[in-house]
């Protein structure tokens, strides 16, 4: 599987942030398919392949999850905890992307097994920098667990 084919799942309820993130990823020339779900329950359903998400052609298993913390129904922390409880999702790369820089949030996410913790940058320029850095690091240099 080539790097560019790997799917990215963005868990984000704010459509402005979805728009800005999508635009920034495009600006950084990230071509990987980007799937978006808008709350925690949808994220779990997507990853578990429940209901409509059972079709993996339309909804492929992602290699990277961008996870917001503040989500309707099921919070990002709970989604992260659920992911790490699933045997097959143990090695899934979960990058927390949140506006919170509260130490409590950060500590809790790493404790639950987050791979990275990113604070949403305040300006579009900085968001561009972030997506570029993401592409270099996670998509070009990082090796995924293929098992």
């Amino acid at each position: 599987m080539t790097t560019t084919n790997r799917a990215i799942l963005l868990v984000e309820d704010n459509e402005d942030d979805v728009f800005l993130m999508r635009r920034a990823l495009r600006g950084a020339h990230v071509v990987n398919p980007l799937h978006v779900v808008e709350d925690g329950q949808q994220a779990i359903d997507y990853l578990a392949g429940n209901g409509a998400f059972a079709d993996r052609e339309a909804h492929p298993m992602p290699a990277i999850v961008f996870l917001d913390l503040k989500l309707p129904y099921v919070s990002g922390h709970e989604v992260l905890a659920w992911i790490r409880r699933q045997k097959e999702l143990e090695t899934l790369v979960v990058i927390v992307l949140t506006s919170s820089n509260e130490p409590s949030d950060l500590n809790r996410c790493y404790a639950l097994g987050a791979n990275s913790y990113l604070v949403k940058p305040p300006t579009p320029e900085q968001l561009d920098d972030l997506t570029k850095a993401f592409k270099w690091y996670w998509l070009e240099y990082n090796h995924f667990d293929e098992s």
């Binding site: 728009f19 800005l20 635009r23 506006s99 940058p121 300006t123 579009p124």
Partner: protein, 743 residues
């Protein structure tokens, strides 16, 4: 007897009176004994002198009797030489004899006898009358035998009809006894020798013949003549020819008798001295002694009695005083002086002791009444318990605490019964601990008591102390207070505190939720605003004119600025509430790191100089970074146009504190605004020109306060500013030095 005496002296307590009387008697005995001995010795001596005198007198008298008798022999011997007897011419001799008889008045007759014992001549008869044999044969035979004169015994003459005696002399012719010539002499002749005139009036004098018959006697000489002497005198004469004895007269009178027998005549002289007279001296002396002695003894005893009464009386009055003093009663201060110095001393001492006691007891009463008042006012009960005797003493306030009426009987069981069952084991344990001699004996406990009579539950606080003696608890004393109201108040207070705390926690929670919400939800739209503005500027750049582009840029800027504000407010609230730990911080390294991390703090935009070395300070690294960053940002921001900002950082020690100064060449701040700039939103200059949120210095001040430090400013308009960060001294923190500048 000695045992009894020593028993008397030592064994029992004796009254002073007995002791004094005993002393007097004891002192008197040897004196009396001595006096008696002296009296007896002197009496004996006196009697010896008297006896000697009497004996002398007796001897003199017997000598006188002998002399008288001899005086009768001489004329008789002269007659015996008559020449008429040579030839036996009795007629003529008769005449001679008559002549001699006439010259001797006391002679009664003269008799001439032949050696055969036949008288041939008696002047009382005419010559030639036949005369009988010699009557008194003893002296006659003596003459025959000795051929010397002899004195005869007294005899009642048949012719003379009176008691007479004879003197006989031998008539010797050529060595041969031819006759015995005898003169009969009246005893009267002897009477004169012992006439009462020659003797003391009450004495009796007697002359005895060889047969111990009275020749004469000073009392009734006629009646007694020829009578036998008293038995005692005759016995004494048989024992020795001379002596002294105590006997009785023929009449039976007791007498002392000196006597003496003549070796010449065989006659004796004796005196009868009334025993009374002799003994009288001794008896008188003894009598005097007895009278005087008993008088003196009585006087001494009386004196001792009076003295002892006086002393005992004084001592008894002292004892009474002492008892009065001891009992704490008052006695009228007497002014009479004791008559014994020592008693007076003790009395004075007692009086002053009484004064002291009075003063002390008055003071004690005052203290006690004050204590009572305090106990009453504080409703404090006092309890005391003796663990040995199990005696429990409560005052009525403790009883009230146990719901008992005043004066109700109490004991340990009452105490236990009153305790709330839930508190009983705990209180028992507390008491057991306090009663342990190894403990300090103090106890303090709060517990519930169910009133024995009123069934009311009270909270009681008891405090006290156990007193130990020789490792044994002997007394437990303490106080009890009814703390029911306090308890109720306390629990009400606790309830209130809990309520308020809950409310506060709720508020804090809400605030936290608010700030969380601020940091997430309020910033998201701002990000979106800026994002969309920037997207428009990029994607629609060809279709927008210059004014449209400018307005979009202003929208983006405003969004940025609001985001900055939100972040600063968050930072401020974080600084205000976060828990931090203070450590030693290497300021040089910290500032170097800040400069390295921020391009806007680097040349050529700005020149930041450190006057090294900078003192290490006590603080929190993150807070310090924030403070330094804010101050540097201000220094760079508030400069006149065309001026390159220059900041000089130096540190100095002052009064155990470290001051770090940031001197800039900025526009300065008017003195009037020095306080305002540290307030939140206390911006002085228009933000359009210089930027900033007006929160930066407020964060600095809050952070410095959290680090136990402070911030200050020295500045005047147009002359730059110097900001001071003031830290507590290094010594105030006990942090190992290897943590310096590292986290």
């Amino acid at each position: 007897m000695p045992a009894t005496l020593s028993h008397f002296i030592f064994a029992q307590p004796r009254s002073l009176r007995s002791n004094l009387l005993f002393l007097v008697v004891i002192a008197f005995i040897p004196i009396l004994a001595f006096a008696i001995v002296m009296v007896i010795l002197s009496a004996r001596n006196e009697r010896e002198v008297f006896e000697r005198g009497a004996t002398e007198r007796t001897r003199a008298l017997i000598t006188a009797v002998d002399a008288e008798l001899k005086s009768f022999i001489t004329p008789l011997e002269a007659l015996a030489t008559s020449r008429h007897l040579d030839v036996g011419d009795l007629g003529r001799f008769y005449e001679d004899a008559v002549r001699v008889l006439k010259s001797q008045p006391v002679w009664r007759t003269i008799i001439l006898s032949l050696p055969s014992g036949v008288s041939v001549l008696n002047l009382l008869r005419p010559l030639g009358t036949e005369l009988g044999a010699v009557v008194e044969k003893r002296s006659f035979n003596q003459v025959l035998k000795t051929l010397k004169p002899a004195v005869g015994d007294i005899l009642f003459g048949p012719l003379t009809q009176s008691y007479d005696f004879v003197i006989r002399v031998p008539v010797l012719r050529e060595g041969k006894l031819t006759y015995v010539l005898s003169a009969v002499i009246a005893t009267k002749s002897i009477d004169g020798l012992i006439s009462p005139q020659q003797l003391p009036p009450d004495w009796i004098g007697v002359v005895l013949d060889t047969r111990n018959r009275f020749v004469t006697r000073t009392i009734q000489p006629e009646r007694n003549a020829g009578q036998l002497a008293s038995e005692s005198l005759r016995a004494a004469l048989r024992r020795s020819p001379e002596g002294w004895f105590r006997g009785t007269t023929v009449e039976g009178w007791p007498v002392y008798t000196p006597y003496s027998r003549s070796s010449f005549s065989g006659w004796s002289v004796a005196m009868g001295i009334p025993a009374d007279v002799v003994d009288a001296t001794l008896r008188r002396s003894l009598l005097y002694l007895v009278f005087l002695g008993s008088g003196l003894l009585a006087l001494s005893l009386l004196t001792a009695w009076i003295l002892s009464s006086r002393t005992a009386g004084s001592i008894e009055s002292l004892a009474l005083m002492a008892r009065t003093v001891g009992s704490g009663q008052h006695f009228p201060s007497e002014t009479t002086q004791a008559r014994i110095t020592e008693v007076q001393v003790v009395r004075d001492a007692l009086l002053s002791a009484h004064e002291l006691l009075k003063r002390n007891s008055a003071e004690k009463e005052r203290i006690a009444s004050r204590l009572q008042l305090a106990l009453q006012a504080g409703n404090i009960g006092v309890h005391e318990w003796n663990p040995q005797t199990k005696q429990l003493i409560w005052d009525d306030r403790v009883r009230a605490h146990w719901g008992l009426s005043p004066g109700a009987p109490v004991d340990f069981a009452v105490f236990l019964r009153g305790l709330h069952p839930g508190d009983r084991p705990r209180l028992k344990a507390t008491l057991k601990r306090a009663l342990d001699p190894a403990s300090d004996g103090q106890y303090s406990a709060e517990f519930r008591v169910i009133g024995a009579e009123d069934q009311v539950q009270r909270w009681i606080e008891a405090r006290g102390q156990v007193v130990f003696e020789n490792g044994k608890a002997v007394r437990l004393t303490g106080t009890t207070i009814d703390i029911s109201e306090r308890r109720a108040f306390q629990s009400e207070l606790e309830r209130l505190v809990q309520e308020r705390t809950a409310q506060l926690q709720e508020t804090v929670g809400e605030l936290e939720a608010f700030s969380y919400s601020v940091s997430h939800d309020m910033r998201a739209p701002l990000r979106a605003m800026e994002g969309y503005a920037k997207a428009l500027l990029q994607d629609y750049r060809d279709r927008l004119d210059a004014e449209g582009k400018h307005w979009l840029a202003r929208i983006a800027q405003s969004a940025q600025r609001l985001d900055l504000l939100v972040r600063d407010v968050l930072a401020y609230s974080k600084v205000a509430k976060s828990e931090i730990e203070l450590t030693l911080v290497d300021l040089e390294k910290l500032i170097d790191d800040i400069i390295a991390a921020n391009p806007e703090f680097q040349p050529p935009q700005v020149q930041i100089r450190m006057v090294k070395p900078l003192d290490r300070v006590i603080g929190h690294e993150a807070y310090l970074t924030q403070c330094v960053t804010n101050i540097l940002a201000n220094a760079i921001r508030f400069v006149a146009d065309e001026t390159t900002p220059v900041v000089t950082i130096r540190s100095e020690r002052l009064d155990g504190k470290v001051r770090v100064g940031f001197q800039d060449n900025g526009i300065g701040i008017d003195r009037a605004h020095h306080e305002r700039i540290f307030q939140i939103f206390g911006q002085v200059y228009p933000q359009d020109k210089y930027g900033g949120t007006g929160i930066g210095l407020a964060i600095v001040r809050k952070a410095m306060q959290r680090m136990n430090g402070d911030v200050g400013i020295e500045s005047e308009l147009g002359r730059g500013s110097r900001f001071w960060l003031i830290f507590n001294g290094e010594k105030d923190v006990a942090e190992p030095s290897h943590t310096v500048g590292r986290r």
